[in-house]
């Protein structure tokens, strides 16, 4: 709370009095106050897109649910972050994510450090009641260091944004629309042939799932790179007991 010249707003989140500066969003103030709000597309430092809809919150006086990641704070607002209704919506949204592509946690290199998987557990998703769509996507392993597996992509566009906004290469973008949307490099060419990619690996670092991963490294290494979750894990059945024993 120092002299930034910004106006300070006081308001209420989940019954708790909080304050933030006028240019802050609800999610920023929530994080400062240790109020957990689930999100998949938001990442500090990248432009907000408000696309994953998991951070939707109720704001008294508004008949619409608003995404906490783009909603600016204002004086006297009353925010509810986890009503029963919101919890139900969030689980259903997660289920839609799972039903869209081929998310098979047990064989995924990001098993255990995946933000989608973690959210599913944290929010108490017991199963996906929507029928799976089982689309067909090829895996692009043409890059010498990285792999793109669209089967595991949730279209959060973090890779697109980090590549454009931070690295300045804009190798990534989305092609198509609707359910056919897909992340691509350059003119939808194999990643390894990309003219614009600098192989900086930022896209891999920000990917919340196993869609973008580094070759020859398993999940443990990626978690080290990302410094998010230090959980050790090996997904193969034969070694499963061993690892579990090690943890316990």
């Amino acid at each position: 709370m120092v002299t930034t010249g910004k106006k300070v707003k006081t308001f209420i989140i989940d019954g708790k009095d909080v304050s933030g500066t006028e240019d802050q969003t609800v999610i920023e103030v929530c994080r400062e106050n240790n109020i957990e709000i689930p999100t998949l597309c938001h990442l500090e430092g990248l432009a907000e897109v408000g696309a994953c809809r998991l951070c939707l919150v109720e704001i008294k006086g508004s008949n619409k649910l608003l995404p906490a990641c783009v909603t600016k704070v204002h004086e006297g607002m009353e925010v509810i972050t986890a009503s029963e209704g919101l919890k139900k919506y969030r689980i259903k949204i997660l289920e839609l994510f799972f039903s869209e592509r081929n998310h098979i946690c047990s064989v995924c290199v990001s098993n255990g450090i995946c933000e989608l998987q973690n959210l599913a557990q944290r929010l108490g998703m017991t199963h996906v009641h929507y029928p799976y769509l089982f689309p067909k996507f090829d895996v692009d392993a043409s890059h010498e260091r990285f792999v793109l597996d669209n089967n595991r992509c949730i279209l959060c566009t973090r890779c697109v944004r980090v590549c454009d906004e931070i690295e300045g290469a804009h190798t990534w973008d989305i092609m198509g629309r609707g359910i056919e949307s897909m992340v691509i490099t350059d003119l939808n060419k194999p990643w390894g042939e990309s003219e614009s990619c600098t192989s900086c690996g930022k896209c891999v670092a920000v990917c919340p799932t196993g869609a973008l991963v580094e070759k020859y490294k398993n999940a443990v290494d990626k978690s080290f790179m990302y410094k998010k979750d230090k959980l050790k894990f090996l997904p193969y059945l034969t070694t499963m007991r061993e690892v579990k024993n090690e943890q316990s």
Partner: protein, 548 residues
């Protein structure tokens, strides 16, 4: 330049053409053109030349005359008599009528209508600015420049005009928001991305009277303090694009667009941007992205475009028909306009009548008349002795209204109470041969294909909704599916990012509400009451039952 000079300019252009005492007006809107109305016009010109009566009768191509299903249409002078299904060989007869009996009996289709937006459609030659000027065109713009911008906005506010694109946001309020952003760069955009299937109001207006839209935009620009404008028109309307381009050029030449309009300090230029086939671009933030040359994906609002719009500048976005109302409002006063319509829905609304109805075409009615009047008096009822089933308004964002509500008035509130919306003005009539589950599936097929893919409830939710409806229409749906439809509709409606997703469940919800028995017939009895859906029997599908 003063208004007299403009009129003089128009008269000079007018005199250069040889016009006869009576004008035979041949509809040259897309519908009639595709029914070869040009051949009719050519034959008429030929016959007139043969008879040497150019001074008496002349031919004029005009915009939409309304009754599209019965084209090619021809009318004489400003008579209400419209000749239908005209063929080139009818030329002699029409010329004879023009000479002897230009004003004849009126058609019922026209008497119940009230034309404000369409007053010039079918009267002026859309490719000639002088025709427009000589019918009080650009007079409102001229007069407006002597008012303060705030006075202009107040007049629009008094008129009670609401956005004609669908949501019905008060136009005056929107203008005010943009005006209040201060003395900075601003834009005015005309949304001509008429994406609702079954709607062709904007197309007809742009094809039939493009200058009216330009004049409305110029007045809006003056009121909010903008100097640059864009018309975003969908690529599916090549004729409208051609006529708009032509109109912009003519208006610049006449000095009613461009620098220092009417000799004042007000300047306003208009550029055209062509859509490329994306329904979501009708959503204003997506439209802006598209003008900026990007993928037409919406972004969360607020901030609204009125504050942060095109290239980050405050931007006024109104629909074609909204701009079409502006000049008459300024010419006749807001009070005049507010006297038409109902308490909350003022003025008139243009509708495109289509589907299973006798008179398909373009109509303009005062707000508040009943659906029954629209369908039976103006529309002429259902053809082939079939029974009316439902009227669909609002396109993929709207709903289906059944028989028992036909006496409800046509206004924003009544239609949304019925689970539909006013929408941009498509009105599709369905009879007993239409299956309502199939209709719901049709609309979800539309929205799933048109979903931009940015947010997950719309991207995946619409596909899941479609799949359930598909199952039901194939006879493999269950009663649980019906509950799931309700539940998923609720999710998509409340959590989607933009209007497309939020409104996508409406066709499903309204058909479940009013035609639940049809859904149950599909699920329980494995029967389609309308006989539209074909069920696969086990014999057809072979060994495996149809599962999910």
């Amino acid at each position: 330049m003063i208004i007299e000079e403009l009129i003089e300019y128009a008269q000079k252009l007018h005199l250069r053409e040889k016009t006869g005492k009576h004008e035979v007006k041949v509809c040259s809107a897309a519908g009639c053109l595709s029914l070869k109305s040009e051949a009719v016009a050519d034959e008429l010109r030929k016959k007139i030349a043969e008879l040497g009566i150019e001074e008496e009768v002349s031919v004029k191509p005009v915009g939409c005359l309304g009754l599209c299903s019965k084209g090619p249409l021809v009318t004489i002078d400003s008579g209400n008599r419209v000749y239908q299904n005209v063929k080139p060989e009818d030329a002699n007869l029409i010329i004879e009528k023009a000479k002897t009996d230009p004003q004849s009996e009126t058609d019922k289709f026209f008497t119940r209508q009230q034309k404000i937006v369409l007053e010039n459609s079918g009267q002026v030659d859309p490719e000639k600015i002088h025709d427009y000027i000589l019918r009080d065109g650009y007079k409102a713009l001229h007069d407006v420049l002597e008012m303060t911008p705030q006075e202009v906005i107040d007049e629009v506010t008094i008129s009670g005009l609401r956005g004609r694109g669908g949501a019905g946001y008060p136009t005056g309020l929107k203008w005010n928001t943009v005006a209040k952003t201060g003395n900075i760069k601003k834009y005015v955009i005309c949304n001509a991305d008429e994406g609702d299937p079954g709607a062709f109001m904007d197309r007809s207006l742009l094809e039939g009277d493009p200058h009216r839209v330009l004049e409305g935009m110029a007045i809006a620009a003056y009121a909010v303090g903008a100097d640059e404008g864009y018309v975003y028109c969908r690529a599916e309307y090549p004729l409208a694009i051609k006529r708009l381009k032509n109109a912009v050029k003519q208006a610049e030449r006449a000095g009613v667009l461009g620098k220092n309009i009417f000799g004042t300090t007000f300047s306003f230029t208009v550029d055209l941007r062509i859509g490329a086939g994306a329904f979501v671009c009708g959503e204003e933030t997506a439209l802006i992205a598209s003008i900026e040359g990007k993928r037409g994906q919406p972004r969360p609002r607020p901030p609204y475009p009125a504050e942060v719009g095109l290239w980050g500048s405050p931007t006024l976005i109104n629909n074609v028909e909204t701009y079409g109302n502006i000049a008459p409002i300024l010419r006749n006063g807001g009070e005049w306009y507010a006297a038409i319509g109902t308490e909350k829905s003022k003025g008139t609304k243009v509708f495109a009548l289509a589907g299973k109805i006798v008179n398909t075409g373009l109509i303009e009615i005062p707000m508040g008349i009943s659906l029954r009047e629209v369908i039976y008096d103006i529309g002429g009822g259902i053809p082939d002795g079939k029974k009316f089933k439902a009227v669909q308004t609002g396109g993929p964002s709207g709903g289906c209204i059944p028989e028992q509500f036909l006496d409800k008035p046509v206004d924003y509130e009544s239609l949304s109470e019925l689970g539909s919306i006013m929408g941009s003005g498509g009105m599709i009539i369905m009879d007993e041969t239409s299956c309502m589950v199939d209709v719901a599936k049709y609309f979800l097929d539309f929205t799933k294909d048109e979903s931009c893919g940015k947010c997950v409830p719309c991207r995946v939710g619409t596909v899941q909704l479609y799949n359930i409806l598909d199952r039901i229409t194939k006879g493999t749906g269950t009663m649980e599916d019906l509950d799931e439809l309700d539940d998923l509709c609720d999710l998509v409606k409340n959590t989607s990012l933009c209007g497309l997703g939020q409104a996508a469940p409406n066709p499903v919800l309204s058909t479940i509400q009013y035609f639940r028995d049809e859904y149950i017939a599909h699920i329980v009895d494995k029967k389609c009451p309308a006989g539209v859906c074909k069920f696969h029997t086990h014999a057809e599908t072979g060994k495996s039952e149809v599962i999910i």
